[in-house]
């Protein structure tokens, strides 16, 4: 067990391990998030490498608590570990204060764990960028958390393979007066733009939270309806 950090500075002042982690993210399946006036939507590609894989067993949007969920681009197992850590953070907060956690608070505390992996002995940075979507007392939130531990609040964003193109598309389509239904359509359109092959209700995952503070992952039947509307 090494007790020195594996992530060290290059002479140019960069942390190459973090850059490489971001490369891993850039290779991952695209995920898009849009924050509307009255809700937040997450959509993510769920391309399977083989038709033999049981599609329903793969869940790319993880519920962190009733009013917050997250998805990712990058290494699936790293996301699994981080989302479990996030759930524990939520419960720790709940035990102490007995109130619904604020998205900013959760993001900040999770970011702490992500940053530690860039400065602790013997471990590597996490190979995922995470999109956290939630609705708390302060309103709807969309936060992106990077392997460096940096986190940013977004109105709309994309991560993964199609991030650049998707964000360009979103810049044109986004407006601050969007309602959640518009946001869902826009998110699906954006994902469809860069999608390789045919988009179906089972090769994507859609999650929505509205002002009732309850995050719901849409069943394929509902996703089918939204996709048909796009036509």
């Amino acid at each position: 067990m090494t007790d020195f950090a594996l992530t060290t500075f290059s002479s140019k002042g960069k942390l190459l391990q973090i850059e490489y982690a971001l490369n891993a993210v850039a290779k991952g399946d695209t995920a898009i998030g849009i924050k509307a006036k009255n809700g937040v939507v997450l959509v993510v590609e769920k391309k399977q490498s083989s038709i033999l894989i049981e599609e329903s067993s793969v869940q790319k949007i993880a519920l962190l608590t009733d009013n917050v969920a997250a998805t990712y681009a990058g290494l699936g197992p790293d996301f699994r570990v981080l989302s479990q850590q996030a759930r524990k953070l939520v419960k720790k907060y709940d035990l102490k204060y007995q109130e619904e956690i604020f998205v900013q608070t959760l993001s900040r505390e999770l970011a702490e764990d992500v940053q530690i992996a860039t400065q602790r002995g013997g471990i590597r940075p996490f190979g995922v960028s995470i999109l956290i979507a939630g609705y708390d007392e302060e309103g709807p939130h969309l936060v992106q958390l990077d392997p460096s531990g940096a986190y940013y609040s977004w109105k709309a964003t994309a991560i993964g393979k199609q991030a650049k193109n998707a964000k360009a598309f979103l810049e044109k389509r986004y407006n601050a007066d969007m309602e959640i239904e518009d946001a869902i359509n826009t998110a699906l359109l954006t994902l469809k733009e860069g999608f390789e092959g045919q988009i179906t209700p089972t090769n994507i995952e859609v999650g929505v939270i509205r002002d009732d503070h309850v995050f719901r992952i849409l069943p394929p039947s509902q996703v089918k309806d939204y996709l048909e509307e796009l036509e």
Partner: protein
């Protein structure tokens, strides 16, 4: 030490009114039969809209108050916002339970105004929270104050009425308790202001 909760003596009481809350405490700091000082503070302003009253072992009153101050200051800095009274009430409960097997010998009362609505919570020394009542008492004179409260209290009192009622209940109660008294302090909190009044009790 028999009666560690009785060693220093002291009484506190909290009451809900119409869009206001009141807290009152005595001023005695004693060591069993001796009175050391008659100006000991037992009610603390945690935030503009939250008051914390503590009775029990004075050393723990001070320590627990300092701990709560620290928590709320860190919270304000980290979260960049004020703490809600109901959140603080829960924080007190979990902080007390954290010391389940080496507890703080205090019985706190938390009172506050959340969006104008009065909040009142009381606890045992290991954090069992009770927030269902309109008035609560604590300390060695608690039971005597209960009697006066039951007689004088009515729901939805104005700040002025509340100040009078809580003051009278405290004074009557402390007059009966040898370990409480030597003056009283009444705090009345409304959306606009916090008033503090010092009362005279029987000087014994």
């Amino acid at each position: 030490m028999s009666g560690i909760f009785e060693y220093n003596g002291g009484s506190i009481v909290g009451m809900k009114g119409k869009n206001c809350i009141a807290m009152a405490c005595d001023r005695r700091f004693g060591q069993q039969m001796s009175t050391i000082t008659t100006n000991y503070q037992k009610v603390f302003k945690i935030q503009d809209n939250i008051l914390l009253a503590l009775s029990g072992l004075n050393s723990d009153i001070h320590t627990f108050y300092a701990l709560m101050e620290k928590e709320i200051n860190l919270y304000n800095l980290k979260e960049n916002r004020k703490m809600k009274p109901t959140t603080f009430a829960n924080l007190v409960a979990s902080s007390l339970y954290e010391r389940r097997f080496g507890p703080f010998f205090v019985t706190p009362i938390v009172a506050g105004l959340e969006n104008g609505k009065p909040i009142l919570a009381t606890y045992d020394s290991i954090g069992c929270k009770s927030d269902l009542d309109d008035f609560q008492v604590g300390g060695t004179g608690g039971n005597y104050i209960y009697g006066a409260c039951e007689a004088f209290f009515k729901p939805d009192m104005s700040p002025e009425e509340l100040e009078e009622v809580i003051g009278q209940s405290l004074v009557s109660g402390c007059d009966r308790d040898s370990l409480s008294g030597w003056g009283g302090v009444v705090y009345v909190l409304t959306e606009q202001k916090l008033t503090v009044k010092i009362l005279k009790t029987k000087q014994t």
